[in-house]
């Protein structure tokens, strides 16, 4: 996030795109509701009538996969009506002319045809976003889980730069991250092309710095594979995998293929707190301690680093993950040992400028938001106040790209997947709480009443969702949350492994799969 979560409550105009905030990030949902109560305008871009869409003054219920056209349309109106921030564009950005040229054809009428959003709504939202004192954009996987996910993100940043709604309090571009430490995993270099702190592996000086600190001759310069590429290469160029706390069998698209690929590895070790669907395929399973059984830190979606504190001893013979990694490293011939996670953080701080001033001692007093480069640095509430990371903000003109797999005669409906309020990711934890799964025991398929009527399906009837890749069965829920032609469910139930159905087509830059659109047919199970 360029801003902090607390700042959302003081925004004057909130534009959310592809985020079911009230279910997936309830505490951020609270901030949105507080802003609305104070008089902020809320505009929600989502194909589904989510709870936040119900609260919104404007629900831009676009056809799935048409976000770029919509954002370009908003920019078109703002430029056409002279509402853009000329001073900001002049002083802080470059390539405005190319952007202007690209969005010129995205008139409200043209965009309305592509997206299904009325032209007048596009105009009103554009004016509201541009004219408000503080406008902020919030987005999640509804923006990124498309084959054009990176371009979708570009289109949000283009809009914010156009109006100068970035680099100030309550005003910016804010991806809401979905997992407790997904920000931290990225910060710490659990990515194929960067060291901790996003220091590129391609830069020789970075490699030398890390090789020296780690006391090895060299570290590799060849870009690594992303999760999807790794799994696809399993059994081919990838012979062995070490999977820590991940469940690709349920979380990755085209699950049948994932299982086949993991089974073809020479060796698979999985480290987890439960025998997940992925762990069942392993040659060795290592029992890890949960968050309650170890010390450390998580970094949240607003770059805030906070302590995780050990409350109980590890269950059974399980061990904290950091101890297990040290044991493996040592057994492989590279002795690795630390007294405590606090010492690991000291090493991180020395090698990662953004974490340079972060220590466990400081975090025991208060949390810190990176960049926090020095021991006396207070941390950073919002980013890009005077300059962007690369200097000037670059407009990235982007064109509408249709989804990889569109409905046709054989597979006439669009399936979109996401999360439920009562569950989390692949359900490994939330299906075992004695409470959440009791209240919300079964998954269902949201289907519009008009479609259900055509299929002769009543609420609660079992249906089969079929794509070119696989099929699952689950109960139907007749719902106005989805428009005719769209069905929705989550990937959080082992007995409804919906990723057997989803499409593995990926964004070419981010390699994120297109979970939000694939073509399916729905049948009643007799």
């Amino acid at each position: 996030m360029t801003n902090s979560i607390g700042e959302i409550a003081d925004a004057d105009f909130i534009l959310t795109a592809g985020t079911n905030t009230f279910d997936a990030h309830p505490i951020i949902g609270i901030k949105i509701k507080q802003a609305v109560a104070k008089g902020a305008t809320l505009a929600v871009i989502d194909p589904r009538l989510t709870d936040s869409a119900k609260l919104a003054q404007y629900h831009l219920q676009l056809k799935p996969g048409t976000d770029i056209a919509l954002f370009n349309g908003l920019a078109n109106v703002i430029i056409e009506e002279g509402l853009y921030n000329k001073e900001f564009v002049e002083a802080r950005t470059e390539d405005f002319d190319a952007f202007k040229q690209t969005v010129a054809k995205y008139t409200p009428d043209y965009v309305s045809e592509i997206t299904g959003v009325p032209a007048e709504t596009i105009r009103e939202v554009a004016r509201g976003y541009a004219k408000a004192k503080n406008s902020t954009i919030l987005y999640t996987m509804g923006i990124t889980q498309h084959i054009c996910g990176t371009h979708n993100v570009f289109s949000t940043t283009n809009l914010s730069m156009l109006c100068g709604h970035i680099g100030k309090e309550s005003s910016g571009v804010n991806p809401l991250r979905g997992q407790n430490n997904v920000q931290g995993a990225c910060d710490m270099g659990a990515l194929p092309v960067v060291f901790p702190g996003y220091q590129p592996i391609g830069v020789e000086a970075n490699r030398e710095k890390f090789a020296k600190a780690w006391n090895v001759e060299s570290v590799p310069d060849k870009p690594g594979l992303t999760v999807g590429e790794m799994v696809e290469a399993a059994g081919k160029s990838i012979k062995a995998m070490y999977i820590l706390g991940e469940n690709p069998v349920l979380s990755d698209p085209d699950a049948n293929q994932v299982i086949h690929e993991l089974e073809s590895l020479d060796f698979l070790v999985v480290q987890d707190i439960f025998l997940t669907e992925t762990a069942q395929l392993a040659d060795v399973v290592l029992p890890a301690a949960s968050f309650a059984e170890k010390d450390g830190t998580f970094s949240n979606t607003e770059r805030r680093v906070q302590k995780v504190r050990k409350a109980i001893e590890p269950i059974g013979n399980s061990k904290p993950d950091w101890e297990i990694i040290c044991l493996i490293s040592t057994a492989m011939g590279y002795p690795m040992s630390y007294d405590s996670p606090a010492n690991i953080m000291n090493e991180i701080g020395k090698l990662t400028p953004a974490y340079g001033g972060i220590t466990h001692e400081r975090l025991d007093v208060c949390s810190l938001q990176w960049p926090c480069p020095a021991p006396d640095h207070p941390g950073t509430k919002f980013l890009h106040a005077t300059t962007f990371s690369r200097g000037k903000g670059k407009f990235q003109p982007v064109e509408h790209i249709p989804p990889d797999e569109l409905p046709d005669a054989e597979y006439p409906m669009v399936l979109s997947t996401g999360r439920r309020r009562y569950h989390y990711h692949t359900g490994t934890m939330t299906q075992r709480t004695g409470a959440l799964e009791v209240f919300y025991p079964n998954e269902y398929l949201e289907i519009n009443c008009a479609d259900a009527e055509k299929l002769g399906v009543c609420d609660g009837d079992k249906v089969r969702v079929i794509s070119r890749r696989g099929q699952v069965e689950l109960a139907a829920q007749l719902s106005e949350r989805v428009t005719p032609g769209l069905v929705f469910t989550s990937f959080q139930y082992p007995d409804v492994p919906i990723n057997k159905v989803t499409n593995a087509a990926r964004d070419p830059i981010s390699k994120i799969p297109e979970y939000k659109v694939c073509a399916v047919k729905v049948e009643k199970v007799s």
């Binding site: 309830p26 590799p220 690709p248 029992p287 011939g333």
Partner: protein, 355 residues
Amino acid sequence: MVANVTLTIDGNQVTVTKGTTVLEAAEQAGIFIPTFCHDPELSKPGACRICVVEIPGARNLPASCVTEATEGMVVYTASPAVIEARKTNLELLLANHPEDCLTCNKNGECRLQDYAYYYGVKQDAFKGEKHNYPIEDDNPFIVRDMNKCILCGKCIRMCEEVQGNNVINFAFRGFNSIVTPAMGAHYADTEISNCVFCGNCVSVCPVGALSEKAMIGKGRRWEIQKVTTTCPYCGVGCQFDLNVKDGKVIGVTSTNGDVNGRALCVKGRFGYGFIHHPDRLTTPLIKKDGEFVEATWDEAISLVAKKLNAAKDTYGPDAIGILSSARVTNEENYLMNKLARAVIGTNNIDHCARL
């Protein structure tokens, strides 16, 4: 520049910024005033009147939570008139309160109990009608015992002003007043109640009316050790207290988190049961002939090291793929990055940020 005012509370001169209430001024001076309906984060109804003080010249005993401190004001927080008013207030509340402290889950963390003890108030001052509401426990998260409710209304304001869901409000009048969702629905009737089981109402209940269901009978409040930590679910980074008794996590309660204050969602507050679930892996497993067999750490670690080294030696470091995790700590992700790049010698490291 904000103006200051100086007042005298129980003979102590206290200087506070203009706009401060008498209650806040007393708190700043370390002087105790009891409260039921007051909460610094919520609006101020000034309803319960347990916080009354004596201010010479005032028409009656004003509620300190809604009385602004003024220059030269003289305040008595424990004069005979104040004590008598508070005692009567407590006697009236106790006249219609179940005699259930022995088994009440809030025993030890109940303001009604604390103040009754402090002021020496017993239960039998007034005799009269008592409520006999059925206890609402038809959901797995929250138990509502409206017989114990003192109508302070903090749950209502928490739901309206912080959570923004407006699930509950006062219904009926006088003795029949009750806090309820619309049309007498239960929380579990979510279509009517609009309840999302965040439990933020429970976090402000000063008595035993609202309880975390799974914590009932699991430990007395004074037996519980609280450990502040960060939620393991979404990326918001809420902080809460793990409630621990005898080495076991028996519940989650609110703390004052930098991001979330006391607010939590249903997963953060009620989703901790996985920690002690019987499915937890408790020993390393090695697959032999298609079946998992329990192993020692030494056996498992040396097998992993042998196999990873063999893959590296035979096919090169890029034949190994590492998936780190968005669930584990920064320190652990850092070590996975070090293991991949320094020990194995590959950049094949990623995690599920894309999923």
